[in-house]
Symmetry: C2
Subunit: 124 residues, 2 copies
DNA sequence: TATTTATTGCGACTATATCGCAATAATACA
DNA sequence: TGTATTATTGCGATATAGTCGCAATAAATA
């Protein structure tokens, strides 16, 4: 793995993700920490995913959202929980449920993405 | 609901979806039935979704896939099953599993999208 | 301080999907 | 059967999300 450097941009992205607690899209992040190039933020987020600091969720709108790996054990990075996305405020949260997945014979598992959409409490 | 008309394009899309059995993206469909405009195919698919003939899956790549509602009861359209997408051939299939979803208090359910990615039997 | 190279900014580019509008064609009706 | 109605289509433009190459910048290391 490539050696990482300490940069302000990296810290800023990390901080806002921790602060919010929910999964954020690129533009949500950009709204909170202005002054960085779009590509830069995407690259930071992709690095975080590679390093296992953050996990990626694809919303029902096809957009990517990124969330801290709070529930992850140190070694074991499993993000097989279900997410909730509000159709009104676009917010994405991690739910507790982790469905059991049985693949047919001859299939191998690589990743899991699961989103329930609806209306969150705040938007009711 | 708007009154639907019988057109060759509609029949062609429906037929190829039935024939393949798996979920197909716009470009997969276009490859099979050439001669229709991109927008037309999208509109047909979106109409199918509205009418409950077809359900929409969003892959881990953010792309939309469409599949016949074979497992659906006549009245009850629930597509809460998990899908499998092959990272090699891009194929999307419906799995049996239907995870139980418990939303927090004050949240309402609207839709569900769940995809496991990996390698399918054919690509091993 | 000087060197190495990870990171950034910029602009161009790709891909997916939708939209408005005029033309076309399926349905209903006289 | 001929005509009117309007759902559907094709075209081009547009929107949005995300990536890429390259030169410039700035962390880390010696």
């Amino acid at each position: 793995m490539m050696k990482r450097r300490n940069t302000k941009s990296k810290d800023d992205v990390l901080e806002i993700l921790k602060l919010k607690g929910t999964a954020m899209s690129h533009d949500m992040i950009e709204n909170e920490i202005e002054g960085y190039n779009r590509a830069t933020i995407y690259r930071i987020l992709n690095r975080f995913c590679k390093d296992g600091i953050v996990h990626r969720i694809v919303g029902m709108n096809g957009k990517q959202y990124f969330a801290m790996c709070t529930t992850c054990k140190h070694e074991e990075h499993r993000h097989n929980h279900i997410h909730f996305q509000c159709n009104n405020c676009e917010k994405v949260e991690c739910l507790e449920e982790e469905p059991v997945i049985n693949l047919p014979k001859g299939y191998t598992f690589e990743n899991f993405n699961s989103v329930v959409s609806g209306i969150c409490q705040d938007c009711h």
